[in-house]
Symmetry: C2
Subunit: 806 residues, 2 copies
């Protein structure tokens, strides 16, 4: 059977492939001129239409006749692949089953050819390796871009405060590295680094220079924000937001052209740097996933295996999203689990392995670039080795509760705000809104040192334990030397210095401020991630808890651990991630010891959050935007049946169906023009309502146009037939048009009694686009993914018309 | 709709639930006596049998009639759940879809009831938490048992060499801990620990005592092996082998009663200790997974949610297998990935999270037990921080090639041996075989110190870097003090001492010996794991590679790293695991640095191994034993169609079908007795061949028996009907029997043109047991999981009759 694949001229589409293989399963002969001689096969329905056959004999009967067809040349011509058949329109849903069949067919073709010549063998090797190549390239590019973004954002962020005189392209830290005049304690101050006041007014201290610095800070922040929003608005509107809701939707099998294109990649990279540098309360983690997915998509165009198959392309995107998280957090295993748990839809084990590889490559590229100058993958790598005590589980669980509450509150507030933005004329002025938010952020942020600095740096400071080399205000409670920032000794029982109290209320203010600003920032028309702000937001809380414990004077608890657990809990509350979040934080700390506190907190925060609403922020945004996303995680728990969901319902017009051999081209075009359905069931006859197959609207249109262009004699009155052989026609009738090659002869069917929970399961697991409903063998109706989503929206009392769908 | 669930008396079975909910979707009234008034619903086929309906109108028409049935009492009685319906026989395949529906129905029931009383609310809470409870208990038990096994095996292993005089229950190491007389270098020697020669002959040195020790070593080894094999043979035959092939099969939806029972658990635990202690070339990792799964299965009996639902039970088993790997290697994340990649079939995200929890709990229990006295989860925890160089990738990849070759060779040799054992009369004497292998192992192992010691201890020694405190012979090359085992300095460039060369050939001998013995040991009728032996086996190879590098005198390469990579490569070659293997070894070392070498080696070994045969050792054993396992990993690449696989084929007798309303009880019993099928399609009539549903043989038998026992007037001539309403019968006919409640009204169907790759996909993803084949709406045949497995075996030229199946 394998060698007969060579005859397969039409194999890239499932139905074509059906018809060929079914022919080759009977005897098939190749005559001298290379023309396939076609035997009658069992598809001939005329043989079967009599109702008096006995059980089991249908099959035998229908294989009997073997009349040689005389229309081989015509058939050959007709069964050439029609260009465009099997592709998708923008904003349409893909058919996973069809795509996977196409890929297997392609694979079989290459395998059959590979023994022909060395060139074909090379091609087959290239094909076999292209999966690894594309994930390697994606990993390399993601790692490199992440490094670039980290470095540029750092530099641009420092530009807000001042400039390096020797070398403009150095950031504050790099500028002072080369300086000999700084002591270790004052490593942040060196003559090469000039604040704007120092540069313009010539003095570093005093109220005048403070105001000057303040002004320049706001000026730069506004410039960056304005530039970012304008770039997004003019060049790549898809570059805004975190991108994760859209990537989830795309991975679930939706087509959004350009969302992962090269323009989006370019603009997203540039504007992400600008947005982070502008000081807006946003993180770069979500956008990094988007950037990595763009890389994956772009590289997949180098390999026909991936560019021409939407299902295969999504395997690359799954791997790319793992690489994105890997570089965002320096956690390759966490990245893979994130891809598995949070974003991916179809995730075979092969993809798991490749995702892991992509994540690793990306992480190692980032480490070679070394953007933070610490040989680590992330800015806030921490290594504690102090043990935790069992009673500490209580504060950890409290942190979890807090995280869950914050998550629920954040989601509700942010969604309410975004909905308001969408519905009122407020949303008409995205540029103004960004400028406004950026201005407020900058004005409020500057006076407080904890909001002024880069968010990642703040987190680093908070996560790190106080050691003798730490110069931060937060560590002053260990020092007795009247507030100076010189070397401090590490005895933990010394009274807290005044600096700690100052730090404390500054942190509290920063917390409140960040909470409020993040709500308004997430959803702006600039690249905006969520991770870092929310990690930050919850972090501070711990300090209060911690202080009390610490002032008792007994075991001084590791504050960094609380910070970390708090951050994880809050991130868990917002995103409702579980395993991947724990693994990500575990990879940050590198110690198995802290998994239990982390799990306790993350679990609690998820449960508390779920009590207020089961959706995470990404699902909420998917629903807000009406993306056709059928969540694989939430269970369908209602007791409705397929016939309550299918169309047509009682009040609807009857189902638009095609009969297999008695329509004319004109009638077919009328049906297509009068309806807006994406596909039509093909039945034996109106009387019997027995289902033959399913034909897609797009394919029918393309096939008719193609036939009229290429085949002579096709008129409006030509008969259209989906059977293997042309129906017997009057002598003077025009040449009939055979459309069997675009007919899906294996449509999915369910009975009208099938519970919707099973139907939903089938749609999710097989990635269906539509499913036909039968009752005792007769066609009753159709259920599409959209029908299911609409039904689910109705059951939960939401607006069912909100769904953006083909 | 939710509140109407209260009327659902029959809801634990999908069809029962169908019929109720379809009734409640029309209007349903509750009269004063609590009896459900039943309206005609669309199931009435008589209305539909006319062929002259227009498209779309079927549905509308069939909802029209509203004649009140007068047989409500009868119906009520009949639709009580029939005990036994919906359960499975031993060695049968479960229907995942049905099980999941049952569970959702149970969940809805509990949810509906929970507002009734505080007691019901508590019950619903208990139900909601039972998932977490059962995995916690499983984790606790697995951890505790693993600790117990570790400690006992250690003690029993040392018994072979000697005994602790102060305290019999101390092993060698513990015995000498308390001793003051030992120096650190000679910590293994203390007066409290007496070798058998010392105890019996009164002297520790000399050829006589060597022979005495040799004899006692063999004596104990044989005793342990004999005891183990007898215990397995007499009490629990399922306790033999590694258990992983069977667990994979069970998780894929097969029923093997007693395989995970309490007897198996008890005997497996005891015999595992004995087998490890007997010195046989086996590891405890696979059996630990089996032990953990037994715990999971036993605890699931405490919770009706899990004990009564085979699909839910498998979620617990997935978590348990993660816990098993977690304690075997001290790698919780690796355990979860192992469960996901290697053993599980249906692995929803909820299970992922719970598996992670179970794995963590188990790991922490094991750590609290601290069986190795080093606060680590595993004996061979290592922490290197030396970097590796890029050129080292070449030896790493060579190790991978070697691992792949070893894996392929091992699988082929082991399977050939096992097949021989099965087919010849050699397999009739399992006890003798074990004694024989144990005797050879003991005789050959004793003279070589590397095979004499515990395999785990050897691995520990090999993995560990040489430091100043190491007393092993292998580290002597760093020492210049004429071969004494005193403190050595750590300079790496000193010439290798004679001890290294001795160690070298001893290791080579040990390698060859272990390779040979493992082939014969895996598959014996004692608990036998594979991990450790194969990790060992490949380990040594590195030393040779390493020596050459090291004698060049430049960078002396970390030999432990080579050992680890070699072990991973060889394990990868044998099991074909990928991500989980890398993560397990990563968790052992705790350093991200070595992931790249590991990945390179594991990937190479998988590719090389796959070139010789795509199956890992577990899949090979599954096939050897003929378990009905439909592998989710291997792609179905053939081009056959559903009609080529379905039964009946041309030469077969016609399909056994039931008609919906014209069979008598007697006729039905004749059909059941004359065939051995597990289920029968129900059709409208022989003429139309239109499919109504599917009824299982077991359910029909139970239902008929139940009706004859409980319902009066059911005779052999009673008419059996599957429709909603009884057919019109002559006045004198006996009371008809309604079997609608056991009818599956939503059987899965595919068309005869569906490519088998899609059918296989559907079976895998939805976990089907059978699927009906239609052509243009008429029933043609049936495809069961067995048909698919047989078809796949045929396509790969294997014996299709080897499959053990219902």
């Amino acid at each position: 059977m394998e060698s007969e694949q060579l005859f397969n001229r039409n194999g890239y589409y499932r139905n074509g492939y059906n018809s060929i293989t079914s022919a080759s399963s009977d005897e098939e002969l190749l005559d001298g001129t290379g023309v396939v001689m076609d035997f009658h096969t069992s598809e001939d329905d005329n043989l079967l239409d009599g109702d008096a056959t006995s059980p089991g004999s249908n099959y035998v009967m229908s294989n009997g006749g073997g009349v040689v067809s005389s229309t081989t040349h015509l058939l050959d011509f007709l069964e050439e692949p029609i260009p465009g058949v099997g592709t998708y329109d923008d904003f349409h849903t893909i058919d996973w089953v069809r795509e996977k069949c196409k890929d297997r067919e392609r694979h079989r073709k290459i395998n059959a050819k590979k023994k022909e010549s060395a060139w074909e063998f090379t091609k087959s090797l290239y094909d076999a390796w292209s999966g690894w190549l594309v994930v390697t390239l994606t990993g390399l590019a993601s790692g490199a871009l992440a490094g670039l973004i980290d470095i540029s954002a750092d530099w641009l962020n420092d530009i807000k405060e001042g400039v390096c005189l020797n070398a403009m392209w150095f950031n504050h830290e790099q500028c002072c590295w080369g300086s000999n005049e700084t002591t270790f304690a004052e490593r942040d101050k060196c003559p090469q680094w000039k604040s704007w006041a120092g540069l313009i007014l010539g003095q570093e201290e005093g109220p005048g220079s403070y105001i000057m610095n303040y002004f320049m800070y706001i000026y730069w922040a506004l410039s960056f924000a304005l530039l970012a929003v304008l770039l997004v608005k003019v060049f790549a509107p898809y570059a805004c937001g975190s991108g994760i809701p859209e990537i989830k939707t795309i991975l679930s099998g939706f087509i959004i052209r350009g969302y992962l294109g090269k323009w989006t990649l370019l603009i997203k990279t540039v504007t992400l740097v600008l947005a982070v540098a502008s000081g807006l309360s946003l993180g770069k983690e979500g956008p990094l996933v988007h950037v990595a997915c763009c890389c994956g998509n772009i590289f997949s165009y180098l390999f026909p295996k991936y560019s021409k198959n939407e299902a295969k392309k999504r395997e690359v995107l799954s791997a790319a999203s793992a690489a994105g998280v890997s570089v965002a957090f320096g956690a390759p295993i966490g990245g893979v689990l994130f891809s598995l748990e949070e974003v991916s839809y179809y995730f075979p084990l092969k993809t798991l392995w490749r995702s892991f590889f992509a994540a690793l490559v990306a992480a190692f590229v980032l480490r070679s670039i070394n953007p933070f100058g610490n040989s680590r993958l992330v800015l806030f790598y921490v290594e504690y080795h102090t043990p935790w005590y069992l009673f500490e589980l209580i504060p950890f669980i409290l942190l979890g509760v807090f995280g869950g509450l914050w998550g629920a509150f954040f989601i509700k507030a942010n969604i309410a705000w975004c909905r308001r933005r969408k519905s009122t004329r407020f949303g008409k002025y995205p540029v103004l809104e960004v400028i406004f938010v950026a201005a407020i952020t900058a004005v409020v942020a500057f006076p407080n040192p904890y909001t002024r600095q880069n968010t990642s740096e703040l987190i680093k400071e908070l996560f790190t334990d106080c050691g003798p080399l730490e110069s931060s205000q937060l560590c002053q409670y260990r020092s007795q030397m009247n507030g100076s920032k010189a070397f401090v000794d590490a005895s933990p029982n010394k009274p807290a210095g005044s600096g700690v109290y100052t730090a404390m209320w500054q942190l509290c203010l920063a917390l409140v401020f960040k909470i409020i600003m993040t709500i308004f920032t997430f959803g702006l028309k600039v690249p905006a991630g969520l991770f870092i702000p929310s990690m930050l937001a919850y972090y501070h809380h711990d300090w209060l808890v911690f202080r009390e414990w610490c002032e008792v004077g007994t075991d001084c608890i590791t504050p960094g651990l609380y910070a970390m657990v708090g951050a994880a809990a809050c991130l868990g509350g917002v995103t409702r991630m579980t395993v991947s979040l724990v693994v990500i934080v575990f990879e940050l700390t590198g110690g198995l010891e802290y998994i239990v506190p982390l799990m306790a907190a993350v679990m609690t925060s998820k449960w508390v959050g779920d009590a207020f609403g089961r959706e995470g922020i990404y699902e909420s945004h998917i629903r807000l935007n009406g993306y056709p996303f059928l969540d694989a995680k939430s269970e369908f728990t209602h007791t409705t049946l397929a016939r309550e969901v299918m169309r047509p319902q009682r009040s609807d017009p009857p189902l638009a169906v095609l009969t297999q051999d008695d329509l004319t081209v004109e009638e077919l075009q009328v049906i297509i023009n009068e309806t807006s359905y994406n596909g039509f069931p093909v039945i034996v006859s109106k009387e019997s309502q027995r289902l033959v197959g399913f034909a897609l609207r797009r394919d029918i249109t393309i096939a008719i146009e193609n036939a009229r262009r290429k085949q002579e004699g096709i008129l409006l009155t030509s008969r259209v037939y989906f059977t293997q052989h042309a129906p017997t026609l009057p002598a003077d009738s025009p040449r009939p048009l055979k459309l069997r090659s675009i007919l899906d002869m294996s449509p999915f069917t369910v009975t009208d009694h099938t519970p919707m929970e099973i139907v939903v399961d089938i749609f999710r697991k097989l990635g269906l686009r539509q499913c036909l409903v039968t009752h005792n063998g007769r066609l009753l109706g159709i259920i599409t993914k959209k029908d299911i989503l609409r039904h689910m929206a109705q059951l939960t009392n939401q607006d069912p018309d909100n769904i953006m769908f083909n």
